[in-house]
Symmetry: none
Subunit: 123 residues, 4 copies
DNA sequence: GTGGTCTAGACCACA
DNA sequence: GTGGTCTAGACCACA
């Protein structure tokens, strides 16, 4: 379910975060579902436990998952924080970067519009 | 023209790359235009010459700018490499990340569509 | 294994690149083999870590080696990019230069043919 | 006759040297022929006079051309110095580099043999 | 322990 | 004056 590319330039802990968030969005993981323990997941994907722990910490901080002492880690109830200006700015910067990169590959607005649609259809 | 945010998590050399590419896209910098020398730009943005040199080197590698020995650095003629599968995959991953982040802030597809439009209008 | 000639006019980082590629060709280094870390190699050849890092970076760019985050640097699986026109032109220019230089030392075509054979036999 | 690529990574003064040597090899320039003056050549190829002067100096040092005071610069009588060990080693290194680069583009010994032949046929 | 980023500063080749 | 190479050394993210 969760696949890590150890050669990718995105850090493993970030890949874990992204994949888990994707699973939740796709409904593969639902609110209340139990996540594998840090040890379990780290052996599943042959990663360092510290790395998995870091990913879980970050997911907990963003209220995506919840740790219940002695019971384990669970997908949190749907929680959508109101977007801060910082976060919005960050999002815009990312989109800007995509537009610039796309342009430098000869891809136009239409291409990106379609890409956006495709991704939403995947979910 | 080029502004660096030293608090940002994106490395300075990458910020330089992005800003220059943006200037070219907006037409502020045109093919053949001379860029400030490594030393000039480094004092302008109070960064180390090596950092600026690194950014220029990368821009040269991607054929965005050209170095003429002993004369300086210039914006290259428009050059759009055919997009490789790797690059397209990277673009898709980036867009996916945006969609996920947006969703977790309670922003929907419409919001991102508009954001995309806005950015294109800026250029 | 890797020997640097500090008096040579070819930059140290380039010598490192050449020597590593040679080792791979000769089979001294095989795909998947771990390379010495940047720090290790830099002390081995008494060069600055930055210089070694530069060589490794370039080798990574050409997909000769791969970096696995936090684990180290490894020889990549055999990868032969289709030769671009630019690269072929460069190769031809280099060979032309050899022919001219050889001529000016009184060496003829036969000598270069034999030299070419000898080098292939070394590998 | 002499064409300079100001964007090439080989220095202009070296390009001049190579082109002149090539002309001599091809017989376009014969022993005793007068070369354009430093000023003439520098305006012809729109280069800095210092750059042309440097090329001429080097050609003079290698006895490829001769300066006769007050008369000008001339192609020297055929002169083939006995190859020094240093020079031979350099030649071998260059050829080695070609072999390695060629290998990394998937080109074999045959390709290089043919390339060598082609270049000799050009002359 | 691994590589990545950045600074400060020297020296050099080139035009 | 231009960029390229290299050293020395700090600090950081990642695993």
């Amino acid at each position: 379910m969760i696949e890590i590319n150890s050669k990718s330039s995105t850090p493993i802990y970030e890949q874990i975060i992204n994949e888990i968030k994707e699973c939740i969005l796709k409904g593969i993981l639902k609110p209340g579902d139990k996540l594998p323990s840090v040890r379990e997941l780290s052996t599943m994907i042959t990663a360092n436990p510290n790395t998995v722990a870091k990913a879980y910490k970050e997911l907990e901080r963003s209220k995506t998952i919840e740790v219940i002492r002695g019971k384990g880690t669970f997908v949190a109830e749907n929680y959508t924080p109101s977007p801060t200006d910082d976060k919005l700015e960050e999002l815009k910067e990312l989109m800007k970067k995509i537009v610039i990169e796309a342009h430098y590959m000869g891809l136009d607005k239409n291409y990106l519009s379609n890409l956006l649609n495709d991704i939403y259809n995947e979910f």
